[in-house]
């Protein structure tokens, strides 16, 4: 509503004329100025300016809802309580039913851990007919790392849902519902997002996957554009389309190594961190490739990592679940959990990303897991 035109707001004609004459045409222009700046610019008294600003503000303000009406809306409009089940029982329980609709869910982990496998699994689940517990819709798969493999996708499908995928035409139909985009650059990606917006709003598409978001930035920085904030627009755009179309969006993120824990401290914590970090300070560890600004934007973050040869999937950030970690392995049928109950992880351990060699047996938490 920020671009709503001032002349359509029902202000008195004289005031509207003054705004138009000074080339302030929409709400964004008007509200980016203070009342005194407006007085100077428009040559109108304080009273008129405040009345106009109040009126514009009222017109532009979003509609009011209550938490109750939101909940009733969700219950009314959505199957499965607004979640896409992952079919990993423990994880689904932790996430109140699965990948939530309308928000961004992120998968972070080192290369080869199974992020893409997880995405394949989700694509199949979303495209399955309702009778099999799916969402019966299309899936948009934005493949930025060129890793999409239809063969693997159908293999996972056939192992898990033989009754669907063994019928020739059904397999074709299921695979036909998954649309793969392969944008080559940030600008192409931006363009395809705009197109996808339209199809999302027509309610055909039930899941959007971006594998991976970090590929965009790392690819671009080689061409001399190191600015992390180049994703700023995409973050807001993705969040808003997720919300308006009520579609789950799953994004994967890579990791990079990082050799000091310093950035996880505030200035007031001072040197306290030094003695606590002891050995790990010299040990390089992994962090998510996209920085803290991105991390703030995702609503659910799942970390896939491996420690002492065992792979874990961890609910690192979620507004509704406790910090749980689940051991898993990747088989020909996709991802499966070894333990449905999960292990409750204490403190920042939940958001650390390990990769095989690192930190073996360095933590008490390890022992309780083994």
């Amino acid at each position: 509503m920020a671009n709503k035109l001032i002349r359509d707001m029902g202000l008195p004609a004289s005031i509207t004329a003054v705004f138009t004459a000074r080339n302030i045409t929409n709400a964004k222009d008007a509200l980016s100025l203070t009342e005194f700046e407006l007085m100077e610019l428009l040559g109108v008294g304080l009273k008129d300016v405040s009345l106009a600003v109040d009126h514009i503000s009222k017109m532009v303000s979003p509609p009011r809802q209550t938490a109750l009406s939101l909940m009733q809306q969700h219950i009314r409009n959505e199957r499965l309580g607004g979640h896409l089940p992952t079919r990993l029982k423990g994880l689904d329980e932790a996430l109140c039913g699965g990948i939530p609709f309308g928000v961004l869910t992120e998968l972070v982990g080192p290369a080869g851990i199974g992020k893409t496998q997880f995405c394949f699994m989700l694509s199949i689940l979303a495209s399955l007919p309702e009778s099999f517990g799916g969402l019966d819709g299309q899936v948009v798969y934005i493949d930025l790392e060129f890793k999409f493999s239809s063969k693997r996708l159908i293999e996972i499908g056939a192992k898990n849902f033989p009754e669907v995928f063994c019928m020739k035409e059904m397999a074709q139909k299921m695979a036909g519902r998954i649309l793969v985009f392969r944008p080559q650059s940030l600008s192409e990606f931006t363009e395809s997002l705009q197109q996808i917006k339209m199809s999302l709003l027509t309610r055909q598409v039930k899941l959007l996957i971006i594998d991976s978001m970090a590929a965009l930035v790392s690819g671009d920085s080689e061409q001399g554009n190191p600015k992390q904030n180049s994703l700023g627009w995409h973050i807001s755009f993705l969040k808003s389309i997720a919300e308006f179309s009520r579609v789950p969006i799953v994004v994967t993120n890579q990791v990079r190594s990082h050799n000091s824990d310093q950035t996880s401290l505030y200035s007031f914590q001072g040197g306290k961190g030094k003695d606590m970090e002891d050995d790990s300070r010299y040990d390089s560890h992994l962090v998510a490739a996209l920085g803290i600004n991105w991390a703030h934007s995702v609503t659910v973050r799942l970390i896939l990592d491996s420690k002492s040869g065992q792979k874990f999937i961890k609910v690192a950030k979620s507004p509704m679940s406790p910090p749980l970690g689940f051991p898993f392995h990747v088989t020909s049928s996709g991802i499966s959990l070894l333990d449905e109950n999960g292990v409750e992880l204490m403190g920042p351990e939940i958001s650390r990303i390990h990769n095989q060699g690192h930190r073996i047996f360095s933590n008490l938490v390890d022992e309780s897991m083994l």
Binding site: A2, I56, M71, S236, Y266, P319
Partner: protein
């Protein structure tokens, strides 16, 4: 030039000056008819100018005599501060360092790394503000302004249910009987009393803050305004940083006015960013140094040895200390841990 200070349009100011009126006293003694003829404006406009001029005049006179209109003595302020009610966070330790909870009449900023529990605290406060007066609460409503889309109704329901259960058990233990159904809060009522606005751009955010004044004057029972988060739209797509600072400053001022005028608590959630100081990168709250002046209280949430801690970074009345808290399935609660004692001594 005194006339320059009048809150009137530039065109009228120009007319005044060209007609030779430069001091306020020269205008305030005039009749509207005379002024309107001199300046060639309508009589109502002239009356308006004279009103402003005489108002400005009296202000100047008073300041010389000592009693300034609109000022309070420190003694009065003390009374006001003492009577200010507070919203509990549901964690005793946290309430303790906050002097009883989040203070009404003030703007409090809460920041921390992703996943530390900012939204959780926001939701918990939105529920707690509704605890009825007979249970020691405020019995108010909450406005939740969501800029990020991280508001999860399922989670609000969980926290509301836990809160309702706790209230009825505490009633039962103090009155030795089950609470009568009419004073019992149902989770649905709690959800009904959280007014939710979803803001999708910074323009909408500014507009909504402007509009809140009118909205709250029609809904006086609102006792808490939460913005989750203040940062999001101002962090994306902003090239003109001077404009950003100006807009944020204006918004902070309006929120402070709201807090005072309607005796309500304003809680702003903020994100963190990395900042390069003294040769190393450190975490600090987003939006920069000029923003850090905007809020009355600032609380930083951080990880400390497997526990979540809240630290009072800035407050005019509270000591800079930290306290642990935990996020459980029923909401924000006290932390139960062994290393608490050791860290307490470290923190002080």
């Amino acid at each position: 030039m005194e006339v320059g200070r009048l809150p009137i349009s530039a065109a009228q100011k120009g007319k005044l000056i060209s007609a030779g009126y430069t001091t306020l006293s020269s205008i305030s003694s005039l009749s509207p008819t005379l002024l309107s003829r001199d300046l060639n404006i309508s009589e109502t406009d002239a009356l308006e100018i004279i009103k402003h001029a005489s108002l400005g005049g009296t202000m100047d006179d008073c300041s010389s005599s000592g009693a300034i209109i609109g000022a309070q003595t420190a003694w009065d302020v003390l009374h006001e501060e003492e009577s200010a009610t507070r919203i509990t966070t549901s964690s005793v330790d946290l309430d303790h360092i906050l002097g009883g909870g989040i203070s009404c009449c003030e703007v409090t900023e809460i920041g921390g790394v992703p996943g530390i529990g900012k939204t959780q605290i926001g939701i918990q406060l939105a529920v707690n503000v509704q605890i009825p007066v007979h249970c020691g609460g405020l019995g108010g409503k909450a406005i939740y302004i969501d800029t990020e889309g991280s508001f999860m109704v399922e989670r609000v329901l969980q926290i509301a249910q836990a809160c309702a259960v706790e209230m009825s058990t505490s009633y039962a233990s103090s009155h030795n009987s089950l609470p009568p159904s009419h004073i019992l809060m149902q989770p649905e009522d709690i959800l009904e009393n959280i007014i939710y606005f979803r803001v999708c751009s910074y323009t909408e955010q500014i507009a909504l803050v402007n509009y809140l004044d009118k909205f709250i004057s029609e809904h006086r029972e609102v006792k808490l305004v939460i913005i989750d988060s203040i940062t999001f739209h101002f962090r994306q797509d902003f090239d003109d940083l001077a404009l950003r600072t100006r807009l944020l400053g204006g918004m902070a001022l309006k929120l402070m006015k709201l807090a005072k005028k309607f005796v309500l608590a304003v809680v702003l959630l903020n994100q963190v960013t990395t900042k390069y100081t003294e040769g190393s990168f450190q975490l600090s709250l987003a939006l920069g140094d000029s923003w850090s002046h905007a809020c009355t209280n600032r609380i930083i949430l951080y990880w400390n040895c497997d526990e979540r801690y809240a630290y009072i970074d800035k407050s005019p009345s509270l000591r800079s200390t930290s306290a642990p808290y935990a996020v459980t399935s029923s909401g924000i609660r006290n932390s139960v841990s062994k290393c608490q004692q050791i860290l307490r001594t470290q923190a002080t």
